[in-house]
Symmetry: C2
Subunit: 417 residues, 2 copies
């Protein structure tokens, strides 16, 4: 807890996040029944259970000949064993049937001799090595057993679990409807893109950043426009937005001229209102989190970088919860070596924007400098965050750090194969 | 080059990919003009150039007081300098104006004293440390200079470059239309999901995996159904698909019972037809790449894992090219320690499915075993590939390897903050 102008105290990120995420719950949301071709990225609203074994028959894992393994017991380099090649769906003692990868094993067969280890002349096959039971055979149920849980409710559907559902014969899956998140920008100086801005006015950019970050996670957003720095107007707009949306994000008005316009407006609208305002987080200290009508409200800074980092820290886990995910999705953590020291501030968790590069097979991290926290170009120059914990003054040059990646590593720097 | 049944020779991945990607070019594709709220994930079809400085005025980086820095030169802990606080839009010598973070600097001012370093009583402000020019000020053009190229044509739009475009006043961006990729499944044993499968039939799962992998990159797909193992039917379907689509993927029929049905069908449709068939790639050796009507054709295995790895290696860079991206997008490469040795095959590039976990702050890699290559469940248990190069027999336990990540690291294993 740090004493600060405009805030009684600052609350730690972990404390604020925990308190807020416990203060609202996700309604068992509506679901859609979607054809498999349309479920990519959606969240499962049911368990996927194997209705059958996969594969549902024994199949050859190789091109070759299906035989009874016992018939090959005496085979060796010096002792060739001969088989009669048949075309039937069953192999008897001393018989072999040609199979290609994926073919069902003929009845009676329990092993496959690889093509390259056999000699086939007319209807006679010569095998000169002993086979073991079910060698080169994929057993029924080897991939998935009937009744097995293959994907849990609350899992995000990726190409591979969609493929597994298809292989099991599912054509339609039950997925959660996308949560709808309203976004309100506040500020007398803010104008909408596409309009003419006077000098000293600035375009509303936060809304598009936050909307894209919501879309990235799979949520939908509704733009509730721009509101002046007026507590009545802000309250009114918040009430309207929460009639429609599952959650609300505001930007700006968290410490305007020393006033907490949006937090005060939120508290006017209902209970419990603001849970925490003022976070020990750099650069998103004026962030607030609230609950109205059982719905989560994020009160973000008007400063673009502070607002998106506030969303990264609070919005991301909240949206994951709204989506119906079992667990929050984290950015991929990547270990790399710092090329320059970075400073933290004791008592605050600091998000440092960095650029990770792959140079001569080594992953290196360059901090991206910025004088102010508002420079959105620092985000387009970065591909990750290094997070400096509250109890740490900074990180040394040459130190190995974990980077939370939000962007790609450029092709000039990558040689991954 | 390795001699092999069914293939005269195997071509290396790099050689095949290079030959194929050079054999077709992307038409300057149609573009859409989209509102900023709808461009997330799309590819820029124009450069974004700053129409103005960002910010377009000098603004305060802090809560505090704007002054002329020269007036503070004599200030020190032992020598307080006094200012008259004014409300005007200009500060003269000896005057100060209160500003909040983001406020425009009043005319005449060239520095901001931080609130916590001042004492304000009535209309008198006391400053007891000397300021330097433009300290705590974000200069106009400091984020972006007028005329600066902020995002190149061929860049994928993420939340941050969308935000930068908004901050510069763009409301609409020109993006490429999504390429359309046709997918044809072949195989007598294949049935569509949603229908009744007999014993020994298998559901078409490849199509959904490949479609989702295309969607993941931002392409659209059209399902051209399932075709029997008949060269005329396959040729006919390929011709139909290429009338509509920008590219084609086939699965199956690349080495059926020793026959190359799909490659032969492709060569019947037109020139140049198959560029390479048979790749030194494990587990996707029967992959082929072709060009018809100037459009890329991917001939993938009927085996789910081989088909998706064939797509990973050939389809991914091809789709990136079709999208209009400047550079192929690679999976994030992550360095981690192998917990078990993995074997390669000399002369072939091997894709090993692995599960990366974060354990006690260390990233570790567990290979995911599979007897056959068809077990799609190995993909749902993995989150990355380790690629063993052609000239390498395998990787040792304890070795640090680069992993190409395609999935998240589970929450149980992550503590990234």
């Amino acid at each position: 807890m740090v004493k600060l102008h405009g805030f009684q105290t600052l609350t730690s990120v972990d404390e604020a996040l925990k308190a807020w995420l416990f203060a609202w719950s996700t309604k068992e949301s509506q679901h859609d029944m979607l054809f498999l071709a349309d479920v990519y990225g959606r969240i499962l609203a049911e368990d996927i259970v194997a209705m059958d074994n996969l594969p549902c028959f024994d199949r050859s894992a190789m091109d070759g000949y299906a035989v009874r393994y016992k018939d090959t017991i005496d085979a060796s380099q010096s002792n060739t064993v001969k088989f009669t090649v048949v075309e039937t769906d069953e192999v008897a003692v001393g018989q072999a049937k040609q199979v290609w990868t994926g073919n069902p094993l003929p009845k009676g067969a329990d092993a496959v001799a690889m093509l390259e280890n056999t000699v086939h002349e007319d209807s006679v096959l010569k095998i000169h090595n002993a086979l073991t039971p079910y060698i080169n055979v994929i057993r029924h149920g080897e991939d998935v057993r009937k009744g097995q849980l293959v994907a849990k409710k609350g899992t995000r559907l990726n190409p591979y679990n969609i493929g597994l559902a298809a292989a099991l014969g599912y054509s339609v899956l039950k997925v959660y409807q996308k949560p709808i998140i309203a976004i309100i920008a506040t500020g007398n100086e803010i104008v909408a893109v596409g309009t003419q801005a006077d000098k000293h006015q600035i375009f509303d950019s936060n809304k598009f950043i936050l909307s894209a970050m919501c879309q990235e996670l799979g949520a939908e957003t509704i733009d509730f426009g721009i509101v002046r720095d007026n507590i009545e107007e802000i309250s009114e707009k918040i009430s309207q937005a929460l009639k429609i949306a599952d959650a609300l994000i505001t930007t700006g008005g968290t410490s305007v001229g020393g006033l907490d316009l949006v937090p005060d407006a939120v508290n006017r609208v209902g209970k419990p209102g603001v849970i925490v305002h003022g976070i020990a987080l750099r650069p998103a200290m004026p962030t607030g989190v609230a609950v109205l009508n059982g719905k989560p409200v994020m009160i973000l800074s008007g400063n673009p970088v502070a607002s998106l980092i506030g969303f990264e820290v609070f919005g991301r886990p909240a949206v994951c919860k709204l989506l119906g995910l079992n667990e929050p999705e984290y950015r991929l953590p990547l270990k790399a070596t710092l090329t320059r020291k970075v400073s933290g501030v004791l008592g605050r968790k600091t998000y440092v924007r960095v650029l990770v590069k792959l140079r001569m097979g080594e992953l290196i991290v360059e901090p991206v400098s910025a004088k102010g926290h508002s420079a959105i170009s620092t985000m387009t120059q970065s591909n990750g965050y290094v997070v400096i914990p509250e109890n740490c003054e900074g990180l040394r040059e040459g130190e190995t750090v974990l980077v939370q990646m939000f962007g790609n590593i450029g092709v000039d720097d990558v040689n991954v194969s």
